[in-house]
């Protein structure tokens, strides 16, 4: 933290609020391109609603595919955000301070994206609200035994809680911005958002307390959410899905992919906004180490799945896993193994760990690998289950690809706006870790 000594409170304010200056041409072009992609995605979805789900690549017996893959992928991404902001907060891990705001934003946006897919993949999306327990004249309720309903509640709760967490964490910083910006529209907006924050002691008192509770809630929540998502599969009887290892396996996987995504996002931001002073190599190294850990857990899961399939002597399980390794989708399977189990091994070397470029590239690999992990679990298992008479292959369609692209655009749209509207780094918390200015220090 040597250069950080140069940081003063006012420099912190200045540097971070500087990020909110008028957007550059680069930003605008990026943003417009993003909207274009989003529009295409939207078109694909509407086309699908109008013609029927047949325009997607589904075919008997593969009834879930890319859409659910995306759902799990995005929910996974979301998790590391909460991990960094909540869990590490409880552990008082200092290296989180400078990156947790970005990852928290990532969480909220990722959940917003993930939440779309259960609706997109419905056969009759217009009646998705039937999944909510609301009183109706038909006197019908929902089936609380269905894992899909667990999803509805888990993801819903997760979105609410992480958004609150996100917003509350920002109040003091927004206040800081409020006190700096002059021009009228922004002034008003930030004034409203800051809820009249003054930074008085009683505010801080309740604030820290509440923040602690949010963290305390978010921590088990984040674990529960991805467990529930994993139960969508584990609770069914499909060979390759029906496995007790899924919850920890998925949670680890989620954090794994999430951390990778954080790196993917933070590296460019750090570069563009010259935040080297705030986001240090140490931060990245911390994340890299956690990536190694989670990568090992995931790899372990891969191995155990195979072992159990063989050891249980269950022909369906064994058939399924041999098919994964050797069947029609073997390529995807090995891509997954390479990206998730092999590539991260490089991080054992400090040189690699501390090399931003290397980290960035590795993180991209991991993102791809984790997407394919979900694809493999979902599609391969379905295409090759109990009944040989029902086996069939799946091919992706352009509509699905369009919607997927759209979902990324949707995510980055929020992110681009966030970078320009809200403080991407936590002002007050960075001050916490700076040495407080004292008269003695001055005197010396």
């Amino acid at each position: 933290m040597n250069q950080e000594s140069a940081l003063t409170y006012s420099k912190v304010n200045h540097d971070i609020i500087r990020m909110l200056d008028k957007p550059t041409v680069k930003w605008w072009s990026l943003f417009i391109f993003d909207l274009a992609v989003l529009a295409f995605g939207l078109f694909c979805f509407l086309y699908q609603v109008y013609t029927g789900l047949g325009v997607a690549g589904y075919r008997h017996p593969v009834f879930w595919a890319v859409y659910i893959t995306n759902f799990v992928f995005w929910v996974g991404i979301a998790h590391s955000g909460t991990l960094i902001s909540a869990i590490l907060y409880l552990f008082r891990a200092r290296f989180r301070m400078s990156i947790y705001r970005i990852s928290e934003a990532m969480t909220v946006f990722a959940v917003l994206t993930a939440g779309l897919f259960p609706i997109i993949h419905l056969g009759r999306p217009w009646s998705f609200y039937w999944l909510l327990p609301y009183p109706n004249q038909r006197e019908l309720w929902v089936n609380f035994r269905s894992p899909l309903l667990w999803d509805v509640f888990a993801v819903g709760t997760y979105l609410t809680v992480s958004s609150i967490f996100f917003f509350v964490g920002m109040i003091p910083d927004i206040a800081a911005i409020r006190d700096r910006v002059k021009e009228i529209p922004r002034k008003i907006i930030y004034t409203i958002l800051s809820l009249g924050w003054k930074g008085s002691t009683w505010e801080w008192g309740h604030y820290t307390r509440a923040y602690f509770y949010f963290a305390a809630f978010a921590t088990p929540l984040v674990i529960s959410v991805h467990s529930v998502v994993s139960w969508d599969f584990a609770m069914s009887n499909v060979p390759g899905w029906h496995s007790t290892i899924f919850p920890p396996y998925f949670v680890a996987g989620a954090i794994f992919s999430g951390l990778a995504m954080v790196i993917t996002l933070v590296v460019p931001i750090r570069k563009i906004f010259h935040l080297e002073q705030f986001i240090t190599i140490a931060n990245f190294e911390g994340m890299a180490k956690m990536i190694i850990l989670t990568s090992l857990i995931v790899t372990y899961a891969y191995v155990v799945e195979f072992f159990m399939a063989w050891y249980s002597g269950n022909p369906y399980e064994w058939g399924q896993f041999m098919y994964r390794a050797k069947g029609d989708y073997a390529l995807f399977y090995w891509i997954m193994i390479f990206c998730n189990s092999v590539v991260p091994l490089l991080l054992w070397f400090k040189k690699v760990r501390t090399n931003i470029k290397a980290l960035f590239i590795i993180s991209l690999f991991i993102n791809i690998g984790m997407w394919f992990e979900r694809f493999n679990i979902i599609v391969i298992s379905l295409s090759h289950d109990f009944e040989p008479g029902g086996w069939g292959l799946y091919r992706v369609s352009w509509v699905e690809l369009g919607v997927t692209a759209g979902s990324f655009a949707w995510f980055f749209m929020f992110f681009l706006l966030f970078i320009k509207i809200l403080p991407a780094l936590s002002i007050s918390e960075i001050k916490e870790i700076l040495p407080a200015p004292t008269r003695e220090a001055k005197a010396r």
Binding site: G123, R124, L140, N143, D385, F386, P388
Partner: protein, 997 residues
């Protein structure tokens, strides 16, 4: 006319108005109350907007229709010459379902897929809407009936004035009964000829019988009595003579009951669907069946095991002496010991039966082959026992191919001035080398009575479309013991006219004929001819009573006992030699009749197109079956386009690698490759007949289908062969299980624990019934009748080739086929449908309770609640759920067939087998009204009803006395994938196999 809403029709139907007020058959009038057909209308979301709907009452109520209550009418199926008895369901004036008539001795309740699909002939969107005549510009244009008829009258007058009455030819298929008589008399009165053309008319059978026994007829076979069935390529379960009848009889003979079953050996170069049901397949060299038969006869005679007089014995001995098994073995490539073994079994297990003469195996020496087979039957004492010459087929009256050929010849010599064509499509079913089309051009005036625009009709000068069978009066006789009545189920859908009525009405306008053909309508004519029958069979009866009774029962059914026949002298004159094959190619070319399209007439029915071929599971197209060995030689994979070249042309179609065919043979199904014949048939697949030579069976003049050797080469083009099942192996997962007869007899075999074993959860509570099913794999022949019946009953949409390629076919029940290569090549079929599990994986995962377990053990599926998460299907162990990827439509008027009691599903909802819940409810309601309990066997789902071999038994598992609950405890019983503990309501009974030597 009135517009009827969704599922109804807006098509104006001529004479409907009159039909309503004046005479006509009122009970068959169309319904005018809207909304009652609503049942067929699409389901929508939760609260649907309420459209302004019209309700339109009858002007005059038809005497017997009560809206909402079905009526059944007996009739006769005319989809093939077998003429099965059928019952047709009429709802609100529309025929909506065909079922076999249990009274008919031919099919006794069962049907085949083709019979089920007759409805799609009736409602076919490509039917000819009315009479057409060729205009100056040479195009067919619509005209009025009297207009059209007068044209024909003028033509006839003109011809007769020239004294060329003898140049009038009436070409029909084998229409027996009154219509046949009418046409005969009529065309004779004009001085012309009536020629009966059947694509598969089995002339060699007749001829061989004449030679062997002096009876120039095709007998019926009492397969049900036999203990040992030896078939030389007779595809009796597909198209041969009377498939449904023989399927039924076969299942009686071959189905496992009280520790025994008959044995069935099939001798043919290609393992046909029939062969699949055999216990032993002998892949004989094409065309050499005669020698095998003789070899067997030789073995029997040399054993002295033959039941013949000594005189006959010597005569026969002289005939067969050269054909010692070892000699025969060299010719036929059948091992000697196999021959002797079969010979032994054949005489020892009596009564036995040897069959032959399947179209696909008809070579230029078929008559001789069949004589040899006759000899076999004779020496085994089957003639007069299992071979019944008392009850012969009307098919015997069909003209031979040779006569057809000479007709074509005289046509090309312009010796025919007027050709009237009815129910045949020669330009499709005759080989190109016969040049029928050219000959047809030489005929100045051609009249077609076809209801469909087929290849022949397209070239006609005048088209007078006939009703389909379901719209008209008539009668049909397939075998002497049965007079079937054909009665109209509903008013004509289109502006068509019964051929009988046409003939009668034009006779009125031709001097000399009016007196002879005085009846006003064919209906009267029919009744008159039945008066004849009545005076013959029941002289004491009053005709009206007799008539109504027969119409209600669907016809006259008699028992005709076999007659005793002796061997004729002529036998000894027969000499045996190998058949002739044209072409220098290395590979035998086999064109076999398809059990889905027969001779191609089924090709315009989407249900049949989408019914997967049992062996390949291919749909909507033609393929060529080729042995893996041969395929390896020329480096062919499935889906490769192969060019098959005979001296008379070549066809190109996709390869299917099939172990069930000899390496020196390839086979292509007949039926597709139409140039016209409507949107479903047109330009789809290839027609193997095109490349066949004009070669006849020398003795009988029948067409020799197996007469070509071809060259096969890769074209390099390759495409996915569209079929519904990719994997051929069941990966040892015991989906379709089998057990050997020995094991059953000894009783030492692991029995499956079928009782509900320990469970975390309390057992299901069933209030009154628990509906269940048992499926006997020892009887299933894979004919697919159940599949088509399910399509008809449950408004299942046809999705077309492109969608099936994506495995999106919607069938609720599918016939899975698994290949076994452990000892010999063998295929097993298993009908797979919703198992209505007691512990269904699909239920708990649905977030909105769209599927759940009801108090009768049904795994309910509520379409209008479904939001389409598709989780249920992912979790379904048997993958029997289907998803509506799109909203599927039925082109007008196919939608008239939709069953009003079943919702039509729209895009985005899951669907699956409901055990025909609408039928269950109907049965329960009736029972309640009559204040009794539901009787066992009273409620029958469509699949079980249609099954010709009665594989499927449905009933109440809660009632311990019901058949199904007994079968559920059967020693052969098992449940598919029961280790997953889904506790299915369906019990499968293992297939029983003879221990392979």
């Amino acid at each position: 006319m009135s517009e009827i809403k969704k599922g109804g029709s807006t098509k104006p139907v001529l004479s409907k108005g009159e039909g309503l007020i004046t005479g006509g058959i009122k009970r068959r009038d169309f319904l005018k109350i809207l909304g009652v057909v609503g049942g067929t209308a699409a389901i929508t979301g939760g609260c649907s907007p309420e459209p302004v709907e019209k309700i339109i009452p009858y002007v005059i109520p038809p005497d017997t229709i009560i809206p909402g209550i079905p009526k059944w009418y007996a009739s006769t199926c005319m989809e093939c010459p077998a003429g099965c008895g059928i019952l047709v369901k009429n709802r609100e004036g529309r025929a909506i379902k065909i079922e076999g008539n249990p009274l008919s001795p031919i099919n006794s309740g069962g049907t085949c897929a083709r019979g089920q699909a007759a409805l799609q002939g009736l409602y076919n969107p490509d039917r000819i809407g009315g009479p057409h005549t060729r205009n100056s510009s040479g195009r067919l244009e619509p005209t009025a009936w009297d207009e059209a008829e007068s044209i024909l009258v003028e033509k006839i007058k003109e011809i007769r004035s020239k004294g060329n009455g003898n140049k009038i030819v009436f070409l029909t298929n084998n229409i027996s009964g009154s219509l046949n008589r009418l046409i005969d008399d009529w065309v004779n009165a004009l001085g012309g000829r009536h020629i009966v053309y059947e694509t598969f008319s089995h002339e060699p059978l007749k001829e061989a019988n004449r030679i062997a026994f002096g009876i120039n007829k095709i007998p019926t076979y009492n397969i049900e009595k036999t203990k040992y069935l030896l078939s030389f390529g007779a595809d009796m379960l597909e198209t041969w003579l009377s498939p449904v009848q023989y399927a039924r009889k076969f299942s009686e003979m071959h189905g496992y009951k009280n520790k025994s079953m008959g044995k069935f050996v099939q001798v043919e170069p290609r393992l046909s669907l029939t062969g699949v049901s055999a216990d032993e397949w002998i892949a004989i060299r094409p065309g050499t069946e005669a020698f095998l038969a003789l070899g067997i006869a030789n073995a029997i005679l040399s054993e002295g095991a033959a039941s013949v007089t000594s005189g006959e014995a010597d005569k026969l001995n002289r005939l067969v002496k050269d054909y010692k098994p070892d000699v025969v073995s060299l010719i036929t490539e059948v091992p000697t010991e196999t021959i002797t073994r079969i010979a032994k079994e054949f005489v020892e297990s009596r009564p036995s039966l040897a069959l032959g003469g399947g179209a696909a195996n008809t070579s230029s020496k078929s008559t001789e082959t069949l004589v040899a087979i006759n000899i076999l039957n004779y020496i085994a004492g089957n003639v007069g026992d299992t071979v019944n010459f008392g009850d012969t087929l009307t098919l015997s009256n069909a003209n031979s191919f040779r006569e057809i050929a000479s007709l074509v010849d005289s046509m090309s010599k312009s010796e025919v001035e007027l050709l009237l064509i009815y129910n045949v499509n020669p330009s499709f079913t005759l080989p190109k080398t016969l040049r029928f089309d050219e000959a047809l051009k030489k005929v100045p005036f051609v009249v077609s009575f076809s209801s469909f625009m087929d290849e022949t009709t397209e070239q006609a000068n005048l088209v007078l479309p006939d009703h389909t069978t379901l719209e008209k009066w008539g009668d049909y006789t397939h075998q002497d013991s049965v007079y079937g009545v054909i009665q109209p189920i509903m008013d004509p859908v289109f502006n068509t006219k019964s051929i009988g009525d046409v003939i009668l009405s034009i006779s009125k306008k031709i001097e000399g004929l009016e007196s002879q053909f005085s009846s006003n309508t064919f209906y009267d004519y029919l009744r008159d001819s039945w008066r004849g029958i009545q005076t013959r069979l029941a002289p004491d009866k009053d005709f009206e009573a007799f008539w109504t009774d027969k119409v209600e029962r669907g016809g006259i059914y008699r028992e005709i006992a076999p007659i005793q026949v002796r061997l004729s002298q002529e036998v000894s004159t027969v000499s045996f030699s190998e058949p002739k094959f044209e072409g220098e190619g290395a590979i035998y070319f086999m064109a076999y009749p398809s059990y889905r399209y027969y001779d191609g007439r089924g090709a315009n029915k989407p249900w049949l197109q989408e019914l997967p071929d049992a062996i390949t599971t291919a749909v909507w197209d033609t393929w060529v079956e080729i042995n893996p060995e041969t395929a390896r030689k020329i480096g062919v994979r499935e889906g490769d386009f192969l060019s098959i070249e005979s001296p008379y042309g070549n066809i190109t179609t996709q390869a299917y690698i099939y172990k069930g065919i000899r390496p020196d043979t390839i086979a292509v199904p007949i039926g597709l490759g139409h140039k016209s014949y409507g949107r479903y048939a047109q330009n789809r697949g290839v027609n193997p007949i095109e490349i066949l030579p004009v070669l006849t069976d020398e003795a009988s003049g029948g067409f020799a289908w197996l007469s070509t050797k071809v060259n096969v080469s890769k074209t390099g083009k390759r495409e996915q062969l569209v079929k519904t099942q990719d994997s051929t192996s069941q990966e040892g997962r015991g989906i379709a299980q089998a057990i050997t007869l020995k094991e059953l007899e000894s009783g030492v075999h692991e029995q499956h624990e079928l009782g509900e074993k320990f469970d975390m959860y309390p057992p299901q509570k069933y209030i009154k019934h628990r509906w269940g099913m048992s499926i006997d794999l020892s009887k299933c022949i894979g004919c697919g009748a159940c599949v088509t019946a399910c399509y008809a009953e449950n408004n299942i949409p046809v999705v077309g080739k492109g969608q099936v390629a994506k495995r999106r076919e919607m069938s609720w029940i599918r016939i899975e086929r698994f290949y076994h290569e452990d000892n010999g090549f063998d295929i097993r079929f298993i009908p797979m449908l919703c198992q209505h599990c007691g512990n269904a994986p699909c239920e708990p995962v649905c977030p909105v309770y769209a599927t759940y377990h009801n108090h009768e053990g049904l795994n309910a599926m509520i379409y209008n609640r479904c939001v389409g998460t598709r989780y249920c299907s992912n979790n379904c162990t048997y993958k029997v759920r289907r998803f509506n990827w799109f909203t599927y439509n039925w082109p007008e008027p196919l939608n008239w067939q939709l069953n009003p009691d079943v919702s039509v599903r729209t895009k985005g909802v899951m669907e699956k087998c409901t055990f025909c819940v609408q039928r269950i409810r109907f049965g329960e309601d009736r029972a309640r009204d009559e204040g009794r309990n539901v009787r066992d066997g009273e409620i029958i789902p469509a699949c079980a009803q249609a099954c010709p071999t009665k594989v499927i038994v449905f009933g109440d598992l809660k009632d311990g006395e019901s058949t199904v609950s007994h079968l559920a405890k059967d020693e052969r019983g098992y449940r598919v994938l029961q280790e997953v503990n889904t506790q299915p309501a369906i019990t499968y009974l293992k297939k029983v196999t003879w221990d392979k030597a």
